[in-house]
């Protein structure tokens, strides 16, 4: 596999909370793992187990209470365009059109239009929004908005894309469709993705590697390398077997 892009080194995170016993609540406990270039890594764990916090720390939105995160040997302290993110709550800029949102990153960094406009168009086409370039987010459905969110992250050409339960707020049918499309885009672009979810099926469908987390405070329980060839079928024997095994692993924790 490729070289290490992100290295999490004994990360822990505590929040102050008056409700908790010692006035703080621990959400991450000594978490260490690497994300390797070109790999689709999925962090899988129950809801509220600190996965989102971990992703926010890697993005640079939050700082860890202990340990450090390195991006190619540089410690992460602030958000940077080398680490793109797709949020569960999408966070498009409502005053910009689809094209405006997708091309926002390169534009604010002062990159030449000739350089980024064709690329923005390419990703708008790739997520299936051709013809919606001049539409404002308010006119788009949830699924379409998240397609813009994905295109926006890709268009900025980051070193790694962090995806925080990007399909968590979508209905089941749209979710299946989006998983399939994301898998296609990833096979085409072969970029590094770190994807957070609490959905086992989604994890097995998308991942090269699954890292299973325990309940709060989150610790790494187990890692799976997924070698099922793509495109994967949700009903194939090997898919179902793996799904069963991981489900058992997680139920064990309950």
């Amino acid at each position: 596999m490729g070289e290490t892009v992100i290295k999490c080194d004994h990360i822990s995170k505590k929040f102050e909370s008056l409700k908790a016993k010692n006035n703080f609540i621990e959400v991450l406990n000594d978490v260490s793992f690497d994300v390797r270039a070109g790999e689709f890594t999925v962090l899988l764990g129950p809801g509220q187990c600190g996965k989102t916090t971990l992703l926010n720390i890697i993005a640079g939105h939050e700082l860890p209470s202990g340990g450090r995160v390195l991006e190619r040997d540089n410690e992460i302290k602030d958000p940077a365009p080398s680490r793109g993110m797709v949020y569960q709550d999408i966070r498009l800029f409502p005053w910009l059109t689809v094209m405006g949102n997708v091309s926002y990153g390169p534009k604010v960094q002062g990159i030449d239009k000739k350089d980024y406009l064709p690329r923005a168009q390419k990703f708008i086409d790739l997520v299936g929004l051709t013809g919606f370039e001049d539409t404002y987010p308010i006119k788009l459905s949830g699924g379409m908005k998240q397609r813009v969110g994905i295109a926006r992250a890709y268009c900025n050409q980051p070193d790694i894309i962090l995806m925080d339960e990007p399909f968590g707020a979508l209905d089941a049918q749209t979710r299946y469709m989006m998983q399939e499309e994301l898998s296609k885009i990833w096979q085409k672009e072969k970029n590094t993705v770190l994807f957070v979810t609490n959905n086992i099926e989604e994890a097995v469908y998308l991942a090269d590697r699954i890292i299973v987390f325990s309940r709060c405070p989150a610790k790494i329980k187990k890692e799976y390398q997924i070698n099922i060839p793509r495109p994967r079928k949700l009903t194939s024997v090997e898919f179902l077997e793996l799904r069963k095994e991981i489900t058992a692993q997680i139920e064990d924790d309950m």
């Binding site: 958000p79 365009p81 993110m85 709550d89 926002y104 960094q109 404002y136 308010i138």
Partner: protein
């Protein structure tokens, strides 16, 4: 969908128009023509029609409305500039907020009309005093709305902008300002209505022309038609101003059409 919307618009127009007509008819029936305490709609209509071409005092009805509107225009634009700048300063700089916010909160409850005596002492009885009073009336909603919008800008949008590589010093122009344009517009609507109400008060206090003057002069002459005509001009003009602002908002801020 589209067709249904047009239908609703027609419905509004027809029922709204019918209600106004009914109101005028009842008013006409209830008020005795030539009354010393009120005027009938027909008398008002006649007065207005007559004075579209002939003068009431120094100028025609158009002239009076024009005077009042031009005063509103000057005071309003000054208030918009000063109000938005002050609100942005208070929202972006903690020091400015600590110093200016209590001061603003203290002056805010004083109605614009209460400033009339001071305005006349400071600026004389002519135009400047009226600009000042209108300025006060429009300034408060501009500050309030812009400030509330600016402090409520979603921190998550700012995070997303930083993630995409926005240089931190440009966050204000890239995210904060565009995000609060709708709130500034909401403030601008309230401010314009306020300014229009304030100018009438200012003119009734001291003026030689304008719609407020028309009403006051009508009272001095016991001319009921002139008083009620002045009120009608205020109502219709205020209505048109509000409609214009709504139209502007709809066409300028396409990305955030507020449902009505």
């Amino acid at each position: 969908m589209k067709k249904r919307k047009t239908n609703i618009q027609w419905e509004r127009l027809i029922y709204g128009g019918a209600a106004i007509l009914l109101f005028l008819v009842i008013w006409q029936i209830l008020v005795k023509p030539g009354s010393a305490k009120f005027a009938t709609p027909l008398e008002v209509g006649e007065f207005i029609l007559q004075h579209i071409t002939t003068k009431v005092g120094p100028c025609t009805i158009w002239g009076h409305a024009g005077w009042s509107l031009s005063r509103v225009g000057v005071g309003y634009i000054l208030a918009a500039a000063a109000g938005i700048v002050l609100a942005l300063l208070m929202s972006q700089s903690k020091v400015c907020n600590i110093i200016l916010h209590p001061l603003f909160d203290l002056l805010r409850p004083i109605p614009p009309i209460a400033w009339v005596p001071l305005a006349i002492l400071w600026f004389g009885i002519f135009e400047k005093a009226k600009y000042f009073i209108i300025f006060i009336g429009a300034f408060v909603p501009f500050v309030m709305n812009t400030y509330t919008g600016a402090v409520r800008v979603d921190k998550k949008l700012i995070d997303a902008a930083l993630m995409l590589g926005t240089p931190p010093r440009t966050i204000f122009f890239r995210v904060v300002f565009p995000a609060i344009v709708p709130q500034i517009f909401a403030g601008a609507q309230v401010a314009l209505t306020n300014a229009w109400m304030t100018v009438i008060g200012a003119e009734m206090a001291r003026a030689t022309e304008g719609v407020g003057w028309m009403i006051l002069k009508g009272m001095e002459n016991a001319d009921m038609a002139q008083i009620v005509s002045g009120m009608a001009v205020i109502g219709v003009t205020g209505f048109l101003i509000a409609a214009l602002m709504r139209w502007l908002e709809k066409h300028l801020i396409k990305w955030n059409v507020r449902e009505r």
